[in-house]
């Protein structure tokens, strides 16, 4: 589904992605972790070209990003993206946040789009909030709506960029539960997160990145029991027991 081949990216002189090689297969759930500033957000943002790459090849759903003739809007419609700050449309109700893209891009008729949106709202447990505005919702609720909004396009891939980092601790669980449910339904997912519980329990593979270099790639059991790279060991110590 996603294939990085020798991908590089620079922000000015800063080398944010350094020779990234990575594959994500259909139905796989991959967690990307690493210290802040390691390039993990940039990595996930290259997949729908919110950040264009400078060198190498990146193939998503059979389309070559940066290749000529690639319709980026068409590709993005197939990829759901969930942001750290939710980024719901504040001028639209919850229902309209979800139905806008299906109506305008997928050309669904209003009724059908609304039915589908209601089914998604049921799934994330927010059916009663259909007419609320984003500012009337808690952070956790907004993020669940954002996930429903992304799912409304029936994407082939879901990308999550630190989806729980802006949430109060008591709301993290409700968002992770929705993501877990999604993973179990067979969705191809790539998740940037510090939630090691989610990584251990839900993901198929963990990618550890630092200074733009992928230092370790392992299944969760192996990664947590026996991290090979020293930076990964250090990172795990800090995330798992921040007091030490």
């Amino acid at each position: 589904m996603i294939r990085f081949e020798g991908v590089h990216k620079w922000f000015g002189k800063l080398h944010v992605l350094n020779n990234v090689n990575l594959q994500v297969k259909q139905g796989e759930v991959v967690v990307v972790c690493g210290p802040s500033g390691s390039g993990k957000s940039t990595l996930i943002r290259t997949i729908n070209e919110l950040e264009p790459i400078n060198e190498g090849r990146l193939i998503v759903d059979g389309m070559d990003l940066g290749g000529r003739g690639t319709d980026i809007n068409k590709l993005r419609a197939e990829i759901g993206f969930v942001f750290q700050q939710f980024n719901l449309y504040p001028h639209l109700s919850v229902l309209k946040n979800i139905t806008l893209a299906p109506i305008k891009i997928r050309r669904l008729d209003r009724k059908e789009a609304a039915q589908q949106a209601m089914a998604l709202l049921e799934r994330v447990g927010l059916a009663e909030k259909r007419d609320a505005y984003p500012s009337q919702l808690s952070g956790g609720q907004q993020q669940r709506v954002a996930i429903a909004r992304a799912l409304a396009m029936k994407p082939k891939i879901m990308l999550f960029d630190e989806p729980t980092s802006a949430l109060d601790p008591e709301m993290i669980g409700e968002v992770l539960a929705v993501m877990k449910d999604l993973a179990e339904s067979g969705m191809t997912m790539m998740v940037v997160t510090h939630e090691m519980g989610f990584a251990r329990e839900v993901s198929h593979r963990i990618v550890f990145i630092d200074h733009g270099i992928i230092l370790e790639e392992a299944n969760p059991a192996e990664f947590f029991r026996n991290p090979k790279h020293e930076r990964a060991q250090q990172f795990l110590r800090q995330v798992l027991s921040p007091m030490h």
Partner: protein, 235 residues
Amino acid sequence: MLKYKFDWAVVTSGKYFDWLASGLYVTIQLSVVSVALSFLLGLIIAVMRMSHVRPIRWFAHGYLEFFRNTPLLVQIFFWYFGSYKILPQAVNDWMNRQNFEFAAAVVALTIYTSAFIAEDIRSGVLSIPKEQMEAARSSGFSYLGSMRYIILPQAVRLTIPPLINQFLNLAKNSSLAMTIGVAELTYQARQVESYTFKGFEAFTAATLVYVVISSVITILVNIYNKTVLRPMRAR
């Protein structure tokens, strides 16, 4: 003691009242058409001004500088006395079959006001967080689609107070159309004055009517803002 005898009946009834009323009707027509067109054109110019395509951006920039920095009266004269010399014959014929004075006034008012509206809308757009554009693009919207459905609806809400100002200016500026013979309110007040020498009454009446027009515009935009657009609450 004033020697002047006020005669309000001149403007509150009879023939001269009818003149003023017909002037008011033309002023309203002129204002409504120009408000709608200048708002649309202002939106388009604002988006062009922010385009990633340089020639489009430069064109919009030139448009803004040019029309904001020349007097409206000169522009009205240009469209009325000057434009027919460069327009194709077919367009001129069509224009002459319409009300040419009215059309020239609409064109001048629309273009002039759209330049100011475009700048107001652009500053509104610039105040929308860039993450909104990212969210829209991530859903598969093109740049223009994102603008149309996500960015501009938010920007226009933020732009309401300066937009009211532009619409008020437009309604008042429409009085300049009298100079090319559009029989709007000021033109008719002047006519009443010429026929009756009751200049004080005629222009007092016109002044009051402009105050009412301005108040109505302010109230309508505010109602539209509160009901249709719904104010965005703090995020």
